[in-house]
């Protein structure tokens, strides 16, 4: 009996793995075409033409901040120095208990203003006031002070409500954006033949980078083990997964760290959901749903360029906490929008993207756990064929390595983000050990996240402990 169950299981896993590998091969081809298309057409409107033009849409950069007193001034200065002719920075102080607001008031000469605040998207935390600078140098800055509602989504919504331009960028205040980020994210909105409702770009790791006054001075390869593993993950996810989905207009996620959105559609879709732990994915799904419901054609595009540098967890504990939140966000979002599944009204979102996310994003950690249990059972109860097991595992392992190395190669050929051969070799070595050292931690965190979801454990903003940056010495 047990043997026949395990046989069925073996066939299931075999078919599942084969489908997974085929999907990844297709994604690889799609990703290649998406990157090629981008590189071939990226100079269609040169940046300098956009900078000079009066005919481009305005953009609001929204950055929620919670207890960021240590770095907020530099971060805001960095955001204020972006290159784009028509933009504002909306910083949302999400009820910080430190001196975030005081520092902003002092540095940017802010005063409280009679701002007519319209709650186009309902927020849980009450907006206490709006601040503008009396110094014309900082006229692009608007600070929104609100009560904390234990939700970054709620803070972002308050920012959207206070913004004045038709497009908005959502980012984290500690993210360092490349100078031409807005131009590059806005380009798809200008060039798109269909209505572009969101655009995103690659995010990289800033942990070991040299940063001066909120500006990236020199990019360095991360030093710690965990940031290095995450570097691999990010390169793979952005250049491989997201670009492929972008090619078939199948993106279900534009990172919370950096994304540009059409405000009209985002507001109509209800903005970010304050209870969501995967608010970025949730918003995109709702925007997609809105477009389908109203029979409007749309497009969501990704740019294969790293435009944003962010600090990632450098210790196992913080990493697990972050991944638990992500996993919980995934299951929460899939559950919340379960009516999309195989619903003809939602086209490829229903029949391709959602099933993919369910099978290959949500289910994988569970299957991996089941796999380990089966393996242990087989060891004790059955006569396991170790040779076959070894061959099959090697195939999967080699496949994973090939996918990872292709991503690194693409990144290396196009952008040369790494300083020297040593860093490349180091990345190769990290990739080789990743499945044994890093992946189990991720699986554990995902399962914990699912468990928390079913137990309905209380959720929070997700306080990320920051290490700070390598700062360059101040010049006299």
């Amino acid at each position: 009996m047990l043997e026949s169950i395990l046989n069925i299981y073996a066939y299931f896993v075999g078919i599942f793995s084969l489908t997974y590998i085929i999907c990844y091969c297709i994604l690889a081809i799609l990703s290649y075409y998406a990157i090629k298309r981008y590189l071939n057409t990226k100079n269609y409107i040169p940046n300098n033409v956009i900078i000079k033009s009066n005919y481009i849409p305005g953009v609001s950069v929204i950055a929620p901040a919670f207890n960021e007193g240590a770095t907020v001034v530099y971060n805001v200065k960095s955001l204020l120095s972006l290159t784009y002719p028509k933009y504002e920075v909306v910083l949302v102080n999400d009820g910080s208990s430190d001196d975030t607001l005081e520092k902003l008031i002092q540095e940017f000469e802010l005063i409280k203003v009679d701002f007519y605040y319209q709650e186009k998207i309902k927020t849980k935390g009450k907006v206490r006031g709006h601040y503008k600078s009396t110094n014309p140098l900082y006229s692009k800055l608007l600070v929104v002070d609100k009560e904390n509602a234990k939700s970054k989504a709620d803070a972002s919504n308050a920012g959207i409500n206070s913004s004045k331009h038709p497009l908005f960028v959502c980012t984290d205040v500690d993210c360092i954006l490349k100078n031409d980020t807005i131009i590059k994210l806005a380009k798809p909105f200008i060039e798109g033949k269909k209505r572009v409702i969101a655009s995103g770009a690659g995010i990289r790791i800033s942990n070991s980078c040299e940063v001066k006054d909120g500006f990236l001075v020199k990019i360095h390869f991360p030093k710690g083990w965990y940031p290095r593993f995450q570097e691999l993950e990010y390169v793979r996810a952005f250049l491989f997964g997201r670009m492929a989905w972008s090619q078939i207009n199948g993106l279900l996620l534009v990172s919370g760290g950096l994304g540009m959105f059409d405000k009209e559609i985002a507001v109509a879709a209800g903005g970010y959901w304050h209870k969501s732990l995967g608010e970025d994915m949730d918003l995109i799904i709702r925007m997609r749903k809105y477009m389908y419901d109203n029979k409007l054609s749309f497009s969501i595009q990704y740019i294969p360029e790293s435009l944003c540098w962010t600090e990632v967890p450098s210790t196992k504990e913080v990493l697990i906490r972050q991944r638990v939140r992500w996993a919980r966000g995934l299951i929460q979002t899939l559950y919340l929008h379960k009516n999309i599944f195989l619903n003809p009204k939602y086209g490829k979102t229903a029949f391709l993207i959602f099933p993919y996310f369910f099978l290959f994003e949500f289910l994988i950690p569970i299957l991996e756990l089941v796999g380990i249990i089966v393996l242990i059972l087989s060891f004790f109860v059955l006569d396991l064929d170790y040779h076959n097991f070894l061959y099959l595992s090697s195939t999967v392992y080699l496949f994973y390595l090939i996918i990872t190395f292709i991503s690194i190669l693409l990144d290396e050929i196009i952008y040369k983000n790494y300083a020297n051969t040593k860093e490349i070799i180091s990345l190769i070595l990290m990739a080789i050990i990743e499945p044994f050292c890093y992946h189990p931690v991720n699986v554990y965190a995902s399962l914990k996240g699912y468990y928390h979801f079913f137990r309905q454990k209380e959720q929070s903003w997700g306080n990320m402990q920051r290490q700070g940056f390598n700062t360059t010495p101040k010049q006299n």
């Binding site: 057409t41 186009k120 503008k132 200008i190 076959n388 190669l409 190769i428």
Partner: protein, 353 residues
């Protein structure tokens, strides 16, 4: 299962392992050679920079320039494709960043380096992006001799090539905009932005048939025509613009509203007020914007009525802005008991917002 494992061992695993080692080798070798060639590339770039800057700031003398360029070619690996590319990019960079009449000098340098041939190779290439790159080079340098090579591409089946040819042609012959009226393809927003940039840079003459553009069957030509009217401050055809406020196409009406604003067509006030109810939010907001510039008593009454009646929340603030701009004292005596409007008044009167 056994069959699968058999094929795994015999075919799949060896191929994957081979592929993996190939990938690793490519990654390392690619980087190694990049590191090796980087200093050479940087040195060449610096030499090219210095040379070109010297040449540009030297008074133009044909034979001297010829001799200098020939001598310079021998100091860099000019026969290499990457070096040609580098020289060309530097010429384009300097050309786009320098003001004054230096076009002829740049074009002379371009010719002496035989770079026109390189550009032509790109234009004749089968790859669409190389064709576009070639055209972009001609456009950036304002190299009019390239005109003849562009014309056949105007009817190319590839949209990107067609579009770039169209832009290059406008750039090379900015005083022949009249021909645009016969253009049949829909001009995209990106093309519009590019065209307006070209016009700003080249300071072209107004097309003689501009007043005919609004009769085109191509919506994008009508829109471009309105934009040109604004650009040239063309006020001879105000009546046409007022008529276009009632055009069937929403985007044309939008352009016409903006034109009324920039050309200060006061006669359009009534038409704008009449049109208001039929418009969507974007056009409504633009009407407020325009009325705030040209509006008088009628607009004042119209907006006051809007504020009294049920009006969508998302446009109310703009309405208050508009009314305040038409009559800065209006809210001193009106809507004093309307708390919501008073909040908006405070907002718009705050100097820092």
């Amino acid at each position: 299962m056994d069959v699968l494992v058999y094929y795994l061992i015999l075919i799949i695993l060896p191929i994957m392992t081979g592929g993996l080692f190939l990938l690793i080798a490519t990654l390392i070798i690619n980087r190694f050679f990049y590191d090796l060639s980087k200093p050479k590339l940087e040195a060449a770039k610096s030499e090219i920079d210095n040379f070109l800057t010297n040449m540009i700031f030297t008074p133009f003398e044909k034979s001297y320039f010829k001799t200098e360029i020939e001598a310079f070619k021998k100091t860099i690996p000019f026969k290499k494709k990457w070096c040609k590319k580098l020289v060309l990019n530097e010429i384009i960079f300097l050309k786009s960043n320098l003001k004054g009449d230096v076009t002829k000098t740049f074009q002379f340098i371009y010719e002496q380096f035989n770079l026109f041939e390189y550009t032509l190779k790109l234009i004749k290439s089968h790859r669409f992006y190389l064709k576009c790159l070639g055209m972009y080079q001609l456009e950036s340098l304002g190299y009019k001799r390239g005109y003849l090579f562009i014309v056949p591409l105007l009817n190319h089946k590839n949209k990107s090539i067609k579009s770039r040819a169209f832009l290059t042609l406008i750039s090379l012959r900015p005083n022949k905009l009249e021909t645009l009226i016969d253009f049949s393809h829909q001009i995209t927003i990106a093309e519009e932005i590019n065209i307006m940039d070209i016009l700003h840079q080249k300071k072209t003459k107004i097309p003689t048939n501009l007043s005919q553009w609004n009769k085109s069957e191509n919506v994008s030509i009508i829109k471009l025509g309105i934009k040109l009217m604004v650009f040239y401050n063309y006020t001879n055809d105000n009546e046409t613009i007022i008529k276009l406020l009632k055009h069937n196409d929403k985007s044309i009406r939008y352009e016409a509203i903006i034109a009324v604003n920039f050309l200060y067509i006061h006669e359009a006030e009534t038409a704008l007020i009449e049109q208001f109810k039929q418009e969507d939010t974007q056009n409504k907001l633009e009407i407020f914007n325009t009325l705030s510039e040209i509006g008088m008593k009628d607009s004042e009454e119209f907006i006051a009525e809007l504020l009294e009646n049920k009006t969508a929340e998302n446009i109310k603030l703009e309405a208050v802005y508009c009314l305040n701009k038409i009559n800065p004292n209006y809210f001193d005596e009106h809507f004093l008991d309307n708390e919501d409007v008073q909040k908006m008044v405070k907002h718009i009167k705050t100097p820092y917002i």
